[in-house]
Amino acid sequence: MKNYFYILKKIILFISLSVTTATIAEIKVTGSVTAADGTGVLPGVSIKVKETDRVSITDYNGQFSIIVPNESSTLIVSYIGMKTEEVIVGKRTNISVKLSDKSMQLNDIVVIGYGVANRKDLTGSLSSINSGELMKSRSGSLMESMEGKLAGVQVTSNSGEPGAGVSISIRGGNSINAGTQPLYVIDGVQIDVNNGEIGQSSNSVVTGQNPLSGLNPNDIESVDILKDASATAIYGSRGANGVVIITTKSGGKDAGSINIDVYAGVSNVNKYISVLQGQDYANYRFARNPASTVWGVDTNGDGKLDVVKDYSQMVSHDWQRELFRPGYTKSVDLSINSGQGSKLRFSTNIGALNQEGIIENNSYSRLTARFKSEYDANQKLTFGLGTNLSYTVADGAVVSNGPNSYTGLLQSFVLYNPFNSFDDAGNTDNGGLSSPKSFIQNAYKKTPMLRVMNDFSINYKILSNLILRLSINGGLTSSKGEEWYPTTTSWGYTKNGLAIISEASSQQWQTSNTLTYANTFTGGHYVNAMFGLEASEYYLSNLSVKGENFLVQTYNPVFDMSQASVYPDKPSSSKTKDARLSQFGRLNYILKDKYMFTASLRRDGSSKFGENNKYALFPSGAFAWKAHQEKFMKKQDVINELKFRLSVGATGNDRIDSYRSLSRLDKAYYSNFYGDNSDLGLAPAEIANPNLKWETTYQYDAGLDIQLFRNRIALTADVYYKDTRDMLLRAAVPGQSGSYFQWQNLGRISNKGLELSLTTTNISTKDFIWKSSLNFNINRNNVESLGSVSSIPVSVNGGWITEVGRVLVGHPIGSGWGYVFDGIYQTSDFEADGKTLKAGVTKISGITSIPGDMKFKDLGTDGIVDPQNDKTVISSSEPNHFGGFSNNFTYKNFDLSIFMQWSYGNQVMNLGRYRLEGYSPYYNVSTEYWQNAWTPTNPTNIYPAITGNGKIESSSYFVEDASYLRIKNIVLGYNLDSKLCKKLKVKSIRFYLTGDNLFTFTKYTGYDPEVSYYNKLMSGVDNISYPRSYTYTFGCRLSF
């Protein structure tokens, strides 16, 4: 309550101030501004009289003059890159002000594992993004807001569906069978991304949802991403993929505030794929099925259909245009933060978001509530309590991939017959699809997820420089997915309705206890030492029930499962438990503010590993040199910071499923003779591996931080090499052992790369500021060894083209595998009989080629293309470079930011194309293909004939350059004039207009070049996925 009074008092004060601004005796004040570090005078510094609009600026010599109302006036002295000073005039008429580097300010404190550090004193490599930057994108998702903004961090959302899964890769993928997502640490609570926490059935979950989508960007104070071993090794066995530290807002800053943030937006589909409509479609179908009386007419009575039927009067549906809609987004956030100077500090926020997809009945909503508080019981003892609640619901049967990943809704938008509008999912002419309209309206899918996180901590200052921190936190998730596909949908048709309930819940607790000692000794020795103990447990359980054949479909049977006539699978449930136990310590030593050393060591125990290898050690060491602190650097004022960093260390990855080191008995049901029941059998499955242990990543990093011209240009550059060994591989073992796989520590992957991040202040005048920031990343992944085999095939769901990639020694993860497309067989390639290939023309093994078929390159010398010898690496999912570029402009009360993002040199296998190019006789085709397909009179070398062979071979024909440059986000903001605010009795009001995904420059022909297929080993595959939309948002933020 005290704080409310405090805020109230402030408000009253504002009101009284605004009433009593009568001028009595004005005073002229002159003065100078110099840099605190003694590097000289500061020109262009802004001097403002507080609570007035009087401003001045220092001249070339750092001098200024200004008229102030009275002796109690306060001057606000501010300068880019420097800490803002407030000076009360008093009796003085000449004032000299010293400004120190901004880095000493609070917001240059970065959160590192189990502590904080000043950015200037870092020895490791980390990237940070603050609340202001995160709030620019109004995508609603924290992770998407980070996209493109952080050096070394590649964020890709799996599709444009609201709430869709996001994959984050920090400095490249480390692993094949173990997880590659970073560790998340949310206010000290360590969380692995686990898709199993979402209750979804295998029927529709190929793309997946993001289990951390419940994080509200409005709650976030900062995100710090730990990248190199010096930074991550303190998280030992969980640090190898990088660590994302998320800090939520806390109270106790400034004067306290009440904020209301409201926005609304509209999204629209970015692109349509042009497919045949009306008579064109009939023409195509007749050409494809010349014997079909549905499409052809026999005009001369010779028993042969010779003319295409006239369909020009039939209603033709352009499903994309009919079924994509504008999706509206609404969001409200209300937060209260207590102010400075109280024993009880708190911050609380309630937020609600509702985001409609660009397809009917598809939406995503989120409710979040957060409370964080700290209480100083006395000078030595502080208690902290935090709770985070989020409830998200993904709604709508919208998935881009169906059970076989080609009968999904998105596919049917482009592939479904434009003349059919009826609901008969069983019509063979529909090729297994139901009308997309019927699908949207009749299918039901709801996936809610509740996440609760609580943390409690005690900070006890044993001595002024020795702090004990005890913390215990717990979390739980609960999710129950419900799906219902009635007979009128393609998935329910053959089953007379299909209903699925899948439930997942998890519980975890963790206790982290640290003792931190920090002291500065005479002679310029600074020591910071931390020692900690940690233990945690994690439980995950699942339950799933599936019913089929519903006689009554007038209501939704997911709410009455017993109505099913058939339960095709037995109800299934599972439970797993993991435990971890750790001891860790870190020592940080700084000599004379010039030479910095950090060493850390963590000993981790994990239940996931074999009994002989439960524990492992993860050391790291780093050295940094602040060259600008050396005497010889003091003489110049171009370079005001120059720091070199070196680090090395080992981190681990234990992200495999539980119990992999144990031997397992599989259930092996064998039907009884009469086929009406199954006998349970048991069979030995994978062999135990008591030596199973962590995969270890050794990382080497060399970095440089440089700031020029009084911090107007800041550059951070890092080169790194990551060497992942003892990879946790589900390794192939000889089949004669009776086991197919065994979890082993085999193989090696390396990542090396370069990261640059450059921030510049291009223009800074009184009214106009222009700042830019750029990050540029190169990562090269390479599979060094796979242990027992030379390659691992990578298959995707989807029926026709399945083996699309390989993990291959000597190539990066994400390499496509197939034939090299070599044009089209022309009539001239054949002898006069039209069937026999001329000598010297490449033959395709196993088929009789005819003109119009696809030709592939013979990589050997035998003149025959066969799958064993003539398939090769045909695409790479890895970009040559990627990054983001943002420009921020401020003019008086207006601000504008333009953010662009790019990826260059990566390729995508656009597998949607074989569907859109007439592989199935029932599916619609793209206009581009139909107009250019090979015919005897159009002997193109680019597109095969409509019935041409080769369309369902994995080949470079489908490989497209997926480079893109995207105007990701533009924000135009206006902050209401402070005077006006005062009149309105508010602290500040900000209006903003945001545009997301406004324009994409790309050659890619699918919906969107930014593709991240669910299979991380082959992310560059597109099976027609949910397109990203462009969104306009208008919002307002009020602070009291």
Binding site: K577, K608, R664, L665, N672, D676, S678, A683, S737
Partner: protein
């Protein structure tokens, strides 16, 4: 403050667990661990079911998709001969496609999956053979039966490995040596013969579990092995290939024929099996009523059913009438018959032809068999493009839909060893041992009578029409007429040394312009088969995955 001290206490308690290793011990909640398998007789029964399950496993340890009789084995044993062919260009999946036309290679999934599935079965059997003898307090009769059945299956699975790949490693103890090299055929077969002989002496006359293997199954399988070895030796199979491991020189030809004869004679007279009067019942048994019928003739079958754990055959990929899988129970039409098969039959008088040789599935015509509705097939059209091998069929899919069986799936009992096959082996062995064609022919009379639906006139016509001066020629054809698409033709042609000539002589056109055009599928794809065929392909390639994981394996020559 009290709370504070309580918390300190909690933290301290937790901290004490730090020294306690039990904190990290794994407790699996949702699966039994490996060491618990052979604790009791009940578990031994479960382990034995596990050995049976391999026959029709949907996947094994999450790997493969119906690797054996659920789908894959049909592709490995029926294709590239003169019965069935793949409608190659209509295949969407390259994996089954390459099995249809000798396009397979060491990376072929079907080959690799079969290899692993058979070894997984052997490993399951090895576990039983090793651990069941020491289960305490177990019924001794049942103990012996379980061990005998496991030995049958070990022999059975090794036989298929040897038939498909030739020489293979022969681990007989679980977890012995995953890196063992291939043993020559002599060793492989001596292991097989030892297992099957043991089973044929120790299994009961009928299994206590209906439909599972018994003494006569083991005898018939052993007869198969002896017949295979004798004819391979006689016909010098693989002699010209550079495969030192895959040689049959060790075989005592006369002795093997004699042993086959003795075994067949025993089964013929003692087993209690007989020919079922209705040939067609044997291939449509996907309901309880019809399954009961096939017990009279089938010595061994693959069970399939709907008991709630998806133990189905992937019927939509197999031979059978092409049709609509959801409405009339037809399949995709991936596997089609060749004209050579049709021409082997007397199409009017042989009931087997009426069952087997026909057009695609009708959506309107149907018949009731033992009260169960089956859709019927239409006649082959003039062009021949609806020509199907319709031996295996399914009942009305609405029945199966109502049980929750997926449309692609079938609960058909697939016959692995039929009494008819025993008769054919009996005839072959008897001719080889005594060179008396008349006696051998007499044995075929039962089959001809049934084919004529016990109509003496028709039976006489069949006997006349099918008569060949060379009895072996007649037998070659009779085996195909009776057993087509049951997984024997490829092995038969190999052991008779006839595969190369059969493939080379496949018609690629409708030579005599017969109508309907039974050579329709020949004209489309037979040339592709001939183009890809090479004599070394009588052996499947050792999978690349196995060659890489076990450096002691050597590939078969040619691959």
């Amino acid at each position: 403050m009290k709370i504070f001290f309580k918390l300190i206490a909690i933290v301290l308690i937790v901290s004490t667990t730090y020294s306690c290793d039990s904190f990290l011990v794994e407790e699996p909640y949702s699966f039994p661990s490996g060491s618990t398998l052979f604790e009791s007789q009940a578990n031994a029964e479960l382990a034995l079911t596990g050995v049976n399950e391999i026959l029709n496993a949907q996947n094994i340890q999450g790997n493969g998709n119906h690797p054996l009789w659920g789908r894959g084995m049909h592709y490995l044993t029926n294709l590239g001969c003169d019965e069935l062919i793949g409608s190659i260009n209509e295949f969407s999946d390259p994996q089954p496609k390459m099995m249809t036309n000798y396009g397979y290679n060491s990376e072929s999934q079907y080959v690799s999956d079969a290899w692993f599935a058979l070894y997984a079965g052997i490993d399951r059997a090895n576990n039983i053979i090793k651990y069941v003898p020491s289960i305490p307090a177990m019924d001794s009769t049942r103990r012996a039966q379980i061990i005998s059945e496991a030995r049958f299956f070990r022999g059975f699975y090794y036989t298929y490995l040897a038939w498909l790949f030739g020489a293979v490693p022969i681990p007989v103890v679980p977890n012995s040596n995953a890196y063992a090299a291939r043993e020559p055929l002599s060793n492989v077969y001596s292991q097989i013969i030892s297992d099957l002989t043991y089973a044929s002496q120790n299994l009961p006359a009928r299994n206590i579990i209906t439909g599972r293997v018994n003494r006569y199954t083991a005898q018939a399988m052993l007869a198969k092995v002896y017949l295979y070895l004798a004819s391979c030796k006689e016909n010098q199979v693989g002699k010209d290939l550079d495969n030192p491991l895959n040689q049959f020189d060790f075989v005592d030809q006369a002795d093997s024929y004699q042993k086959c004869l003795t075994l067949c004679d025993s089964i013929y007279h003692n087993s209690g099996y007989s020919l079922h009067p209705n040939y067609n019942y044997l291939f449509i048994a996907d309901t309880k009523q019809l399954k009961a019928e096939i017990l009279k003739e089938d010595l061994m079958m693959v069970n399939a059913g709907s008991g709630g754990s998806s133990e189905y055959l992937l019927f939509s990929y197999l031979s059978g009438p092409q049709g609509n899988i959801t409405t009339n129970g037809g399949n995709y039409g991936n596997l089609r018959p060749l004209g050579e098969l049709a021409e082997r039959y007397d199409l009017t008088n042989d009931t087997r032809a009426i069952q087997n040789i026909s057009g695609n599935m009708s959506s309107t015509l149907s018949q009731n068999i033992l009260t169960i509705k089956y859709y019927s097939t239409v006649a082959v059209n003039t062009a021949g493009n609806n020509f199907c091998l319709d031996k295996f069929r399914q009942s009305d899919p609405t029945i199966r839909n109502a049980l929750g069986i997926p449309t692609w799936a079938s609960t058909l009992s697939f016959p692995l060893l039929r009494f008819a096959d025993v008769i054919l082996m009996y005839a072959e062995a008897s001719y080889k041992v005594s060179a008396n064609a008349t006696n051998a022919r007499k044995l075929l009379l039962d089959l001809r009578n049934r084919a004529a639906q016990l109509d003496a006139t028709k039976a006489y016509i069949l006997t006349q029409n099918y008569y060949r001066t060379d009895f072996m020629q007649e037998l070659f054809d009779e085996r195909s007429r009776e057993l087509c698409a049951e997984g024997w033709r490829r092995f038969d042609l190999i052991r008779w040394g006839k595969l190369t000539s059969v493939v080379t002589n496949l018609n690629t056109t409708n030579v005599n312009s017969i109508k309907p055009n039974y050579y329709y599928w020949n004209t489309l794809y037979a040339a592709v088969i001939q183009g890809n065929y090479a004599p070394y392909k009588i052996w499947f390639p050792i999978p690349k995955r196995e060659l890489e994981t076990n450096p002691n394996l050597v590939p078969n020559s040619g691959y």
